[in-house]
């Protein structure tokens, strides 16, 4: 299943990639693949911007604005007028 703006902030600087393959390993949606000993974005449309790839990139080759795609969280932060990140209340 796909949503809106999937992967819009995911960026990869191939020249920084050391080919460790961590991003391929951690991505839950198969966004990356190893191509000639370097990781490449092959499936951007499935990216949910969870941030696992960027978190585990030792050479900072990957950048992504990660966050939880939760409307209740977004509405709550609008309500409080800070527009920023609110502590996610759920998790079960």
């Amino acid at each position: 299943m796909k949503y809106l703006l999937n992967g819009h902030s995911l960026m990869m600087a191939s020249d920084l990639c050391n080919g460790c393959g961590r991003c391929v390993e951690v991505c839950p949606h198969g966004v990356f693949a190893m191509v000639q000993k370097k990781a490449e974005i092959v499936n951007l449309g499935d990216c949910m911007e969870c941030g696992a790839c960027g978190m585990n990139c030792a050479t900072d080759a990957i950048s992504v604005e990660s966050g939880v795609g939760c409307a209740q969280l977004v509405v709550a932060s609008m309500w409080r007028g800070n527009g920023g990140r609110t502590e996610c209340g759920c998790g079960g």
Binding site: M1, K2, Y3, L4, L5, N6, G7, H8, S9, R22, E25, V26, C27, P28, H29, G30, D46, C47, M48, E49, C50, G51, A52, M55, N56, A58, E65, S66, G67, V68, G69, C70, A71, Q72, L73, V74, V75, M78, E87, C88, C90, G91, G92
Partner: protein, 346 residues
């Protein structure tokens, strides 16, 4: 299940002879069979009962009879998570390192950072894991990668991180194949069973608003008839149906409802429901319009709210959706409420 571990299997343990409270280094046993209380507890939290306090003590646990060469698996201290994991580990001899995630599951806790690099490093050190096992390998659930930087854990503790499968049920196969995860083990799914499992929370969350609607309907009934009649049931029925549509049908039918926008998915099912209500109940135009708008507002909002329970929505996408859907929903709700109340006096 916070078993003390003292004297279990008839084995006296050094910790037990000392009258000290459980120290950080205490290693406890964890069984792999669930009792009816575990099953009941799982049902409870699925419906929101004790959801935020359903946890076990963080620390190092024994599954079976692990030795210095046994694998170390890492998990969260949400008891529902621990139960799923230990059940999957039946028959294996492994160590389970339980992180303090404040009773939240691995993926959500990783998003918050509580299932994270700092906690993992601290827990490895506090439990003295390096003295318990000879190898230097940790198996961390793949979804924990959102909060854990593997290279930083290695640098700080000397333990290298292997990301295990997404689902606990794949752990035995993963370990048996020499810690190799198949493509399928690495992918997050959102099957109808998984969607249905998170649906109860959507319904529970709407109980308060439902109570408020019921109170207003009862008040209108009192003003109109000076007493409560069975008509109140018929008045409330469309709203109960709307909540079940938004909370259960939208999750269940998610992949097949047109549009990627969850608020639209909810509204589409709401339209069907409104048509059914108007066909079943003879209502005057104002009341009919009011009820229809309120149904649309409820199903649309609940559809939108379900974004948080899914496995594929993005924050940027949700922000965009909320920005244009929320005003529409609010207008529908206010207009619907005015028409529904006015309809009672026409």
């Amino acid at each position: 299940m916070s078993e003390s571990g003292c004297g279990r299997n008839g084995k006296p343990q050094t910790n037990c002879s000392q009258a000290k409270p459980a120290a950080a280094q205490t290693i406890r046993d964890l069984g792999t069979t669930l009792t009816w209380r575990d099953v009941a507890g799982a049902w409870g939290v699925r419906w929101g009962y004790r959801r935020m306090s359903y946890m076990i003590e963080p620390g190092l646990y024994r599954i079976g009879r692990p030795d210095a060469e046994s694998k170390v698996l890492v998990t969260a201290n949400y008891k529902l998570t621990v139960d799923v994991v230990r059940r999957a580990l039946h028959g294996l001899n492994v160590w389970l390192l339980v992180l303090d995630t404040k009773g939240v599951n691995v993926w959500c806790a990783a998003g918050k950072g509580t299932f994270g690099t700092a906690e993992l490093i601290a827990r490895v050190q506090a439990t003295g894991l390096a003295k318990v096992v000879r190898h230097r390998t940790l198996v961390v659930p793949q979804l924990g990668a959102v909060g854990v930087a593997a290279h930083e854990v290695s640098r700080a503790t000397g333990f290298s991180v292997h990301y295990g499968p997404v689902r606990a049920s794949d752990i035995p196969a993963y370990l048996a194949s020499g810690m190799k995860a198949t493509e399928a083990m690495r992918r997050v799914t959102f099957t109808w069973k998984e969607r249905l499992a998170v649906a109860p929370m959507e319904v529970v969350g709407s109980l308060k608003p439902a109570g408020a609607i019921l109170a207003v309907l009862a008040l209108l009934e009192l003003v109109e008839h000076r007493r409560l009649t069975t008509g109140l049931v018929a008045d409330m029925a469309p709203f109960v149906a709307a909540i079940l549509t938004g909370g259960v049908l939208v999750p269940l039918l998610l992949p097949w409802i047109p549009s990627r926008v969850f608020a639209v998915k909810g509204a589409l099912l709401g339209l069907c429901l409104a048509a059914a209500v108007l066909w079943l109940q003879p209502l005057d135009p104002a009341t009919g319009m009011g009820v229809s708008l309120l149904i649309l507002a409820i199903t649309s909002y609940m559809g939108m709210a379900f974004t948080g329970a899914t496995t594929f929505t993005t924050l940027a996408g949700v922000r965009m959706e909320v920005r244009w859907a929320l005003p529409c929903i609010l207008i529908a709700a206010v207009a619907g409420a005015i028409l529904r109340v006015a309809g009672a006096f026409i």
